[in-house]
């Protein structure tokens, strides 16, 4: 038992890269430590991306299993966390695309939805911040989730989404601009923004 405990202590001190290397070399405990270390962060990312605890759980499980199996493919050019973020994001998006194939509205449709002169919409539709975010095209939405909500740098988000940094900056700017009218639907022209509801994210 003492051997096991001292071994766990030793693992907890290893950096991510070393843990992944140990896992690839056949260590049976290293990946468990990676999971323990990053599970909450990946869970948060999956919840922010899917807004569905069940889907998030499935996606995170699939992502960690994929990472377990594909650890040999990790080349060490990015941080392990960046690599994990990428796998989790892809797992979430795969599920979202299967269940919500029409989630991405073209920009033109967004403009119609957000038309402040459309008083019918302004009465019936009141979008909170997350609902407005969900109306954005996938690329813009993911850029805002990673940078504005999850706190990644532009460079990190670019690595996660496998696009150029300039693309992330552009998507963020366009996404924020697109959200603005969506958030003003019931206050056309008054310049104010609906504050986000402070309800905690659902968690089973």
């Amino acid at each position: 038992v003492l051997l096991v405990m001292s071994r766990l202590d030793a693992l907890s001190d290893l950096p991510d890269h070393d843990l992944l290397s140990a896992h690839c070399a056949g260590d049976q405990d290293a990946f468990g430590e990676l999971f323990r270390r990053h599970r909450d962060q990946m869970w948060a990312l999956a919840l922010r991306t899917t807004r569905d605890p069940e889907m998030a759980a499935d996606a995170v499980q699939e992502a960690f299993l994929s990472a377990f199996r594909a650890a040999d493919s990790f080349r060490g050019e990015a941080a392990v966390t960046t690599w994990l973020h990428r796998i989790v994001v892809n797992a979430c998006l795969d599920r979202l695309r299967r269940t919500r194939p029409v989630a991405d509205l073209p920009d033109a449709d967004l403009a119609i939805l957000a038309d402040p002169r459309d008083h019918h919409h302004s009465v019936e539709v009141r979008l909170d911040v997350r609902d407005a975010l969900d109306q954005l095209p996938e690329g813009q939405r993911m850029a805002l989730i990673l940078v504005d909500m999850h706190g990644l740098s532009v460079a990190e988000a670019a690595s996660v989404l496998d696009v150029a940094e300039g693309t992330i900056k552009s998507r963020c700017a366009r996404g924020r601009a697109a959200m603005l009218p969506l958030l003003r639907l019931d206050h056309p022209g008054d310049g104010s923004i609906d504050r986000p509801r402070k309800e905690p994210m659902a968690s089973p």
Partner: protein, 279 residues
Amino acid sequence: VSTLIRPRTPAASEPSPDEDPTGVRALLSALPEPEPMPEHVVDRINASLVAEQVERAARTSETSATKVTPLLSRGRGRRARVLFATAGAAAAVALVAVVGSAVSHLQQQVSATSAAVAPRTGAPPTSEQDRKPAEGGVGPTTRGGAPAAVAAPGTAETQGRLRSSRIRYTRTGFVAQARSLALASRLYGALEDSAGATTSPKSSSFPGAKTVTVPQACLRAIGADRAQVVWADVSTYEGKPALVIVASTNGKTLAYAVKPQCGPTGAFLLHPAVAIPLP
């Protein structure tokens, strides 16, 4: 331990929320933080990682040219190290549970402590019942009230091996958890045979492990009475006492969760039959 990605700590070179003229960035960053991963999700993912780890170990074992040596003489081996706490029974499990790592889950989920449930056929396990079907070669083995049990050729699985794994089965994680049970049992069955248990039915490598027959009436009630290989686990399902049965028939493996009273009076299914993918 350095972590390069830290939520909500954008680099200094990043535009601050104040530089966003729309104010949307400030709104998004002000949204509440999600709560930590729920325990049941942690358990479920740990179970799937355990299954994956066991599968990987089995593959490594299969591809290795060296013969597996008895566990009790492998104090410095990797597998022996992992199984060290397994053999340590309840005290070790309790201690590693405090550690709270995936390793502890592995130890808990594959530990093979004695199952206290006796067959409902009324006949106590005999030495013959305790004998594994693969012992002395592959072939039909009649035991207790159970029908002839045939171990799959070339394998060492045991019909009706009951374990108490401490896996807390859940509806959402059932497939992965049942799979981990089957994979762990299969691996340990092979290891036990290689460890010399074939010559002595009582010399299990896992102290406290006991092989008894799953009530045939129970298997019949769930439609698994023709299974060639059965693993059973005395545990809980959604927090309630349960008998989890994994039965393999002609290569198709199904898992069930029933109330522990499963027997001549029938079976109360807590989780319906679900296919378990096994390599």
